[in-house]
C-alpha cells in the first residue's frame, strides 16, 4: 500500500515538474509544496533565483489548494506514505506539533540564525526540543478600512465591534441610497474551515471570553462572554455582511473588498499589497488598524498566523533542502518579501529597517497588531488540535447559519471537547 502511494504520488509529481526539469546533472532539484494565495508562487519563483545560481540547485514549486485544511490533509497523506518526492513543506503555525515526527530537526543547522527571530515564533515551531520548521514570515490579521468612505461620512476608525457595526451599517445604507447597491459593511471569512476558527477566536478573545482551550488545557469555551461575541457576529449576517460570507474564505472576501464593494474587511497582510495593485479599484483608498475590541476594558485580539518551512525526513536531498530553507528564512529574503508581498518579517531587526519603513510604512503599524496576537490552542491540544478546531468552527458556523442558539451550541461544544479530551489532551 505504501509502495502504491509512492508510485501514484511520484507519477503525479513527475507530470507537474516535467516542465521545469532543466538544471545540471549533479545539482539537486528541490521540491517545495506551498499554498498558493494571491501572488505567492510568482514571488517565490523570482526570489529563489540567487540561491539557484549560487548552489546550482533548482527549485520546483508544487502549488497546493488554497484551503489550509485541504493542504494539511494532503501533507498528512504524503508524510504517512513516506513520500520521498517532496523535500520541503510550507507549514502553518499550528501544524508543527502534529507533524513533528516526519520532519528533520533543524536545531544543529540554524544555531547562527535562530536568535534573530521572535522567540515566541521559534517556540511555536519547537516540539520536544526539536526545531521542526523555520519561520519565513509571520501573519496577523488586521481591520482593513476604506479611508475615502470614512472621510466622506466623517466617521472615525472603529475601536470596538459595536462602533464597527454602527459605522458599517450607516455607510452601507448611505452608499446604497446613492447608487451603489452592492455595497456591504463588513466582509470576513465565515466558511466552515480553519479560517473561521481564527475569526471566531478573535471575537471571543476580544470579548474577554478566553481562547477555547487555555494554555493549561482547560476547556473555557462555554461562557456568557463567548455567547455574546457569537451573537454579535450572528447579527451581522444579512445586515452588514452578505449572507454568502458563510461560504467565504480569504480570497472570496478579498474579491468583494478589492472591487470596492465593502467598507471594512478582516484579512491577513497579503491583501495589503494586492489592494494597492494597479488593477485594484481601491488603490490608495484604504488603511489598516488593529481589529476592534469587545468594548470596556477588553483588548483587541488578532490570531497569530504565519508560515514556516520544514524539511521532510524522507527527502533524498536533505542538504540542498536545508540550504534552501535557510535561504528563504534569511534576512535578505524576508526583507524582499516584506517589500514585495507585504509579508511580515519574523526577524525582529527588520521592523526598524529603513527601506521597509520608507516603502511599506504599514509594516511598522503591524507591530501593534502583532503585540495583541493570540495563539490558536494548538500547543495545549497537541495532536487533537485539528479535531478541536473542526468542532469549534462547526459549532460557530451552525450558530451563524441559524441552526441552534449560540448558548446551546457552545454548551454542546464544551461537552464534545470534554469527551475528546478524556483524561488529557
Amino acid at each position: 500500500m505504501k509502495k502504491a502511494w509512492q508510485l501514484i504520488n511520484s507519477s503525479l509529481l513527475c507530470l507537474s515538474i516535467m516542465a521545469s526539469t532543466t538544471g545540471s546533472a549533479h545539482a539537486a532539484k528541490v521540491v517545495l509544496a506551498s499554498g498558493a494565495v494571491g501572488k505567492d508562487i510568482e514571488v517565490l519563483k523570482k526570489l529563489v533565483k540567487p540561491w539557484e545560481q549560487r548552489t546550482g540547485n533548482t527549485l520546483a514549486v508544487l502549488p497546493m489548494p488554497s484551503s489550509t485544511t485541504d493542504q494539511f490533509s494532503q501533507y498528512r497523506l504524503w508524510l504517512a506514505a513516506g513520500n520521498p518526492d517532496i523535500d520541503v513543506y510550507q507549514t502553518d503555525v499550528t501544524w508543527a506539533p502534529q507533524l513533528a515526527d516526519n520532519f528533520v530537526d533543524l536545531t544543529p543547522y540554524t544555531k547562527d540564525i535562530v536568535a534573530q527571530n521572535f522567540p515566541s515564533i521559534i517556540a511555536s515551531q519547537t516540539t520536544n526540543g526539536r526545531l521542526v520548521a523555520l519561520p519565513i514570515f509571520t501573519d496577523a490579521p488586521a481591520l482593513y478600512y476604506r479611508k475615502d468612505l470614512l472621510e466622506k461620512y466623517h466617521k472615525a476608525v472603529p475601536k470596538t465591534w459595536q462602533e464597527l457595526t454602527a459605522t458599517a451599517k450607516y455607510i452601507q445604507t448611505k452608499e446604497r441610497e446613492t447608487g451603489h447597491p452592492d455595497m456591504w459593511g463588513f466582509v470576513w471569512q465565515g466558511s466552515a474551515y480553519e479560517g473561521l476558527t481564527c475569526n471566531a477566536l478573535e471575537w471571543i478573545k476580544s470579548y474577554g471570553g478566553g481562547q477555547i482551550v487555555e494554555a493549561d488545557g482547560t476547556i473555557s469555551i462555554n461562557n456568557p462572554k463567548a455567547v455574546a461575541a457569537l451573537n454579535m457576529a450572528k447579527s451581522w449576517i444579512g445586515n452588514i455582511s452578505p449572507e454568502g460570507v458563510l461560504a467565504y474564505k480569504e480570497e472570496e472576501s478579498r474579491g468583494v473588498w478589492q472591487t470596492g464593494n465593502a467598507v471594512f474587511m478582516r484579512n491577513w497582510p497579503y491583501a495589503y499589497a494586492l489592494g494597492n495593485g494597479d488593477d485594484s479599484a481601491i488603490k490608495n483608498k484604504f488603511g489598516i488598524a488593529p481589529l476592534p475590541s469587545g468594548g470596556g476594558n477588553n483588548k483587541s485580539a488578532a490570531t497569530l498566523g504565519g508560515w514556516n518551512l520544514a524539511v521532510s525526513k524522507y527527502s533524498k536531498h536533505k542538504e540542498a533542502a536545508i540550504s534552501l530553507v535557510k535561504f528563504l528564512a534569511s534576512k535578505e529574503v524576508q526583507k524582499y518579501r516584506a517589500l514585495h508581498s507585504s509579508n511580515l518579517p519574523t526577524i525582529i531587526s527588520l521592523y526598524d529597517d529603513q527601506d521597509i519603513n520608507q516603502q511599506e510604512p504599514f509594516i511598522a503599524q503591524w507591530k501593534n497588531v502583532f503585540l495583541h496576537a493570540v495563539p490558536r490552542p494548538s500547543a495545549p491540544t497537541k495532536i487533537k488540535y485539528n479535531e478541536v478546531s473542526s468542532k469549534f468552527f462547526s459549532a460557530v458556523h451552525d450558530t451563524l447559519a441559524g441552526s441552534g442558539s449560540a448558548k446551546d451550541n457552545l454548551e454542546l461544544l464544551e461537552y464534545e471537547l470534554q469527551t475528546l479530551k478524556g483524561n488529557h489532551w
Partner: protein, 320 residues
C-alpha cells in the same frame, strides 16, 4: 453465470473442457487485477476498522474488536455512556444527508433523463449532433464542473443570482452554498445537471429496443399517446430504467466530490464519504474512518439487495 462457465457440467466432451480451461486462463489476469484493486483494499479497510490504527502508525494497529462501531461503559452512577460510530450523531446526520440526496437526486434525474431520452428518440434533423452535445455535462470532470458551479452560485458575482434578479424571481442576492436551507438544494441542482445525460443515454438505449411496429399498431387503433407511454413504452423500458436507477443510486450513496468542492464542512451537506475521509485523514482517526467506510459499504450492499428484492428484476436479462 461465471460459475456456470468454469465448472463443466457432467458429460461434456474433452474438447469443451479444453475450451473452458482456455477461457479460465484468459480470464485469470482480469481476476487477479480485480482482486488487487477491489477486493484487497476492501478487505484491508474492513480489517482496519477492527483495530486502533492511525495514519501516523499504519502498520502497528492492534485488534480492538467492535470498539470503533459501538462500545459502552456503565458508570458507577448507573449512567451508561455509548460511544463509537453507531452512537455518533455526526454519523447519523451524514447518513440522513446522503440518503436524502440520493432519493431526491436519483428520482429527479430518472424523470428528466426519461424525458430527454423520449425527445432524442424522436426523428428530427440534427439528432446525432444533439445526442453528442447533451453528453457534455457528463464528460466534464466533476471537480471542474463543481468549481464552475461554485462561481456561478457565488452570492456577489454569481451569474445565477444575476439572472434571477434581472427576471425578478428573487429580490435580493441569495447565498446558495452558504445558507443551510439551500446548500443541499445547490448540490442536488448541480448533480441533476451533471448526471441527467447519463440517465438519458441509458434510457435511450432501452427505448431503441422497443419495436417500432408496436407504436404503429397503437396509432392505427387510435390510442392516446399518453396511454401509449404508460401502457407500452414504460413497461418495455422498465428493465433498462431499473439498471440505470441502481447504477445512479450506488453512485449517489458514495457521493463525495461535489460536496467537497461546493460546500465543504457544512453539516447540512456532509455525506458519509466526506465524514469518513475527514476522520481517516484530517483527524488522524484512521480506524474510526475505516469503520465508517465499512458501514457505508454495508449500507450500499443493503440498498442493492433491497432494490433487487423489491423490484424483483432479473439483471441478467433472460426471463425465466
Amino acid at each position: 453465470m461465471f460459475n456456470k462457465a468454469i465448472l463443466p457440467p457432467p458429460g461434456t466432451s474433452s474438447l469443451q473442457r479444453q475450451k473452458l480451461r482456455a477461457a479460465f486462463w484468459f480470464l485469470a489476469p482480469m481476476l487477479i487485477v480485480l482482486f488487487c484493486v477491489a477486493a484487497w483494499p476492501l478487505l484491508r479497510s474492513i480489517y482496519f476498522s477492527f483495530t486502533n490504527t492511525s495514519l501516523t502508525n499504519l502498520y502497528g494497529g492492534e485488534w480492538i474488536g467492535f470498539k470503533n462501531y459501538l462500545t459502552w461503559k456503565t458508570l458507577s452512577s448507573g449512567h451508561t455512556i455509548y460511544s463509537g460510530t453507531l452512537a455518533d450523531p455526526a454519523w447519523w446526520n451524514a447518513v440522513w444527508n446522503t440518503v436524502k440526496f440520493a432519493l431526491v437526486s436519483v428520482s429527479l434525474e430518472t424523470i428528466f433523463g426519461l424525458m430527454v431520452a423520449l425527445v432524442l428518440n424522436a426523428e428530427f434533423k440534427g439528432r446525432g449532433l444533439v445526442r453528442a452535445a447533451i453528453l457534455i455535462p457528463w464528460a466534464i470532470p466533476t471537480i471542474v464542473s463543481a468549481k464552475i458551479w461554485a462561481w456561478m452560485f457565488n452570492d456577489q458575482f454569481g451569474i445565477i443570482n444575476n439572472m434571477l434578479l434581472s427576471i425578478g424571481l428573487i429580490d435580493h442576492k441569495m447565498a446558495w452554498t452558504a445558507n443551510l436551507d439551500t446548500a443541499m438544494l445547490s448540490v442536488i441542482i448541480v448533480d441533476i445537471w451533471k448526471t441527467t445525460p447519463f440517465m438519458a443515454l441509458l434510457c435511450l438505449a432501452g427505448l431503441q429496443m422497443i419495436p417500432r411496429d408496436m407504436y404503429e399498431s397503437a396509432k392505427i387503433d387510435g390510442i392516446h399517446p399518453i396511454k401509449v407511454f404508460f401502457q407500452v413504452t414504460l413497461p418495455l423500458v422498465k428493465p433498462a430504467l431499473m439498471v440505470a436507477v441502481i447504477f445512479r443510486t450506488l453512485d449517489a450513496l458514495r457521493m463525495f466530490d461535489l460536496v467537497y468542492v461546493l460546500t465543504p464542512n457544512s453539516n447540512a451537506t456532509k455525506t458519509m464519504s466526506i465524514l469518513s475521509r475527514e476522520n481517516l485523514i484530517d483527524f488522524d482517526k484512521f480506524a474510526y474512518g475505516s469503520a465508517q467506510s465499512t458501514l457505508l459499504f454495508a449500507i450500499i450492499a443493503l440498498f442493492v439487495v433491497l432494490y433487487i428484492w423489491l423490484g424483483k428484476i432479473d439483471l441478467s436479462g433472460d426471463k425465466s
